[in-house]
């Protein structure tokens, strides 16, 4: 019981759902997009589709605004967070590369892969 979960970055929610989930108006949500605070995807017909991560961020934005934080400041907060994230990615990458070299020079066993079960790829 209780197994598969929705990938948090999968854009599946229309704006109406997001309104209910966040208590924000469509006007607000769309405005936050123009301010580069959230980045919903679009359907072929241009309708916004949000992920759970988007919803979380909107809830955070709500809190920030309630504290009096301005949107420019909020954007900067997320920008810095993204930068740190990017740096971490890079250093992790470097670490992995080093480790891989290490292993290669010793055992030569890189490239082994276990098969991935089908069900885990559904959503």
């Amino acid at each position: 019981m209780a197994e598969k979960q929705l990938r948090r970055n999968l854009a599946v929610l229309p704006i109406g759902t997001v309104m209910k989930l966040t208590g924000q108006t469509a006007r607000q949500i769309r405005y936050y997009e123009t301010q580069a605070l959230v980045f919903p995807e679009r359907t072929i017909g241009h309708q916004r589709m949000f992920s759970l991560n988007d919803v979380d961020r909107l809830l955070e934005i709500k809190d920030y605004l309630a504290e009096g934080t301005t949107m420019v400041q909020i954007r900067q907060i997320y920008q810095k967070k993204a930068d740190r994230q990017r740096d971490k990615q890079l250093s992790d990458e470097k670490a992995r590369r080093l480790l891989a070299n290490e292993l290669l020079s010793v055992g030569g066993l890189v490239g082994q892969r276990s098969t991935i079960s089908q069900s885990s790829k559904l959503y």
Copy 2:
């Protein structure tokens, strides 16, 4: 990182999303509803809204049909599952009642409640 999850029975997905998630056509999904295999909720404007549980069930239905199982049979399968579930609910209920009585007759400490954190109720 990675905390809040979507309640699996919260109806938030429009039929278009469900189509993509299941690979079924709107026609099929709606027909399965007429056959009492899924029970999406409706918006005020009568549009179907599905939960993750609904999506799981639709994927199951897909497998059943591929095996040649008929919809009547599928409905019966779910019916029996629901019946067993109901029985279990009832016997659990009885067990809890007995336990509560037990505790009452000894300590008299029933009715204590811990507060529920706000965030856990968002979705």
